[in-house]
């Protein structure tokens, strides 16, 4: 009981404090590839503190949706984060069917982000919202097909046992091929959902090519801080989800497993940084091909489970 409370506490502490660091590590990796020093690893923390202290400029053409958008999105993402187990530890909240809640909490967040973007009436933001929703339509089937594989493997509809099921198998009984396939599919989803490079460039400042960044152009001050923080939590949660699929290791000692989880999360950020450094952004018309191939990868994984 005490151990459970302790693990839940660490889950919450990591969830609140660690996400901005992943983005710092990604940026540091990219800087290293480019031969630059790059911003400090903790840069996003400084940015968040600075943004929260600032005032806001709110356009008179906007309604309450514009201000509610970032707050509801942050809330939805935080709630979704409570459903995902970190490493081998149980999630604070788990019940049968929570995978649907998980997927649609992200969808809820996306709905309010796009609604807030449309609320400004800016044509660029409307364009970004349209792209975001279009690509989300294509990445959602991939996520559910990946979940189907885990449902088949574990026999339950709850995320915690589902994501722990790869650990419960020995290497011989583990369907390695299926897990590798959905691992690859989920990695594409991580990149697409977080607007990382093959899909969207987080550093670009040309509205015509942006997706996520263009939707938040009009937000400023604390609201922008909420958006940045929510985006980093989304990255953190999806990486944790991916981690359980591609690295199902455990040592049974909480003292080893928690640091191992943190190291693995940082390793995934380094991998994302490397991918961003060696790849160029895809042309907008080629992005659907990438997302459809993610669905196909996960679909293949499911097909191999069925035989």
């Amino acid at each position: 009981m005490i151990a459970h409370a302790f693990n839940t506490l660490i889950h919450l502490v990591l969830l609140i404090t660690m996400p901005p660091m992943l983005l710092g590590v990604i940026n540091k990796t990219k800087a290293w590839f480019g031969g630059r020093v790059g911003p400090p690893v903790l840069q996003l923390y400084y940015d968040l503190i600075r943004l929260v202290q600032k005032g806001m400029v709110i356009s008179t053409t906007t309604t309450w949706i514009f201000q509610a958008g970032p707050i509801i999105t942050l809330g939805a993402v935080l709630l979704a984060a409570l459903l995902i187990p970190f490493g081998r530890f149980d999630a604070p909240i788990h019940f049968g069917g929570d995978l649907i809640l998980f997927a649609y909490l992200f969808a809820l967040g996306r709905f309010f982000t796009t609604a807030a973007a449309l609320d400004t009436g800016s044509p660029f933001e409307g364009m970004g919202a349209a792209r975001e929703v279009t690509f989300a339509c294509l990445s959602e089937p991939a996520l559910f097909l990946a979940f189907l594989v885990l449902v088949k493997l574990s026999g339950t509809y709850s995320l915690t046992p589902m994501l722990h099921s790869p650990m419960a198998h020995t290497f011989v009984t583990l369907p390695v091929a299926s897990l590798l396939l959905i691992g690859a599919g989920l990695f594409i989803i991580v990149l697409a959902e977080n607007c990382r490079i093959p899909v969207d460039d987080p550093n670009t400042h040309l509205e015509l090519t942006m997706i996520h960044e263009v939707m938040v152009l009009d937000h400023s001050g604390p609201l922008l801080g909420f958006i940045l923080y929510g985006a980093s939590i989304k990255l953190f949660v999806l990486c944790a989800l991916l981690l359980n699929v591609i690295a199902p290791f455990q040592s049974r000692f909480a003292m080893i497993d928690w640091p191992m989880f943190i190291v693995e999360m940082l390793a995934i950020s380094v991998v994302i940084g490397v991918v961003e450094s060696v790849m160029a952004r895809l042309q907008m018309r080629h992005v659907p091909t990438l997302l459809v191939s993610a669905s196909l990868l996960c679909g293949f994984g499911f097909l191999l489970m069925l035989r």
């Binding site: 390695v176 590798l180 396939l181 080629h286 659907p288 191939s293 196909l296 293949f300 097909l303 191999l304």
Partner: protein
């Protein structure tokens, strides 16, 4: 053994989808070369007892499909100076989906067949059907002559995977004969591409139907 063969075949299946989805001819050739190298490893994994033949076949397949044929295709691509984009008759995503559908059907179909137990556990039969279907799709939906050559190459890869089932029974000479035929075929086609290009300035196979003296 089965696990490693299956892992290899899953990569082969994914390469099939990649070949159907890519829009660049260079990537197409490189994908086909990688597939050839992977398939070259298969005799080593499948063969039960050590003998020199699988090593010779593996080495010949890898050198031919992984290096010589891609080099010839790259050379043909350079000489012909054509646009480096694949021109599909139907879009890339629909062909990918068709390929995925074909793979699903192959897996379903192979599970219906009465195979010997050691074959039904591996992915050899479905992977072979799926690769043959991929070859057909590449052959029928791509316009340029050079992409059709790659279609033939993939088709042959599919037949090669099926041949792996008969590795114990198939004479060594037949295997090498097939590889030689393939080599000569690609060789001839790359020369033909060069000549067509010099005479007619277009490699669109739809126009080849109307060629006259």
């Amino acid at each position: 053994m089965n696990a490693s063969v299956n892992a290899l075949l899953v990569v082969v299946l994914l390469l099939n989808l990649f070949l159907l989805g890519t829009s660049r001819i260079r990537a197409l050739i490189q994908g086909a070369a990688l597939q050839g190298i992977l398939l070259g490893c298969m005799p080593l994994l499948l063969h039960q007892h050590l003998s020199p033949f699988p090593f010779v076949i593996a080495a010949a397949t890898m050198i031919l499909k992984g290096s010589i044929v891609p080099q010839m295709l790259f050379k043909a691509l350079r000489d012909a100076q054509i646009k480096r984009e694949v021109e599909p008759l139907i879009g890339l995503i629909p062909t990918m989906l068709l390929g995925a559908l074909g793979t699903a059907i192959s897996i379903a179909f192979a599970s219906q067949l009465a195979l010997v137990p050691e074959h039904s556990q591996t992915l050899v039969v479905p992977a072979s059907f799926a690769t043959v279907l991929t070859g057909f799709l590449l052959l029928t939906t791509r316009i340029k002559a050079i992409t059709q050559v790659i279609g033939y190459l993939i088709l042959e890869n599919g037949i090669y995977i099926f041949g792996m089932l008969l590795l114990e029974a198939m004479p060594f000479l037949v295997e090498l004969g097939i590889l030689l035929d393939l080599f000569v075929g690609i060789f001839v086609v790359s020369i033909i591409i060069h000549h067509i290009n010099r005479e007619f300035a277009s490699l669109d196979t739809r126009r080849l139907a109307s060629l006259k003296e």
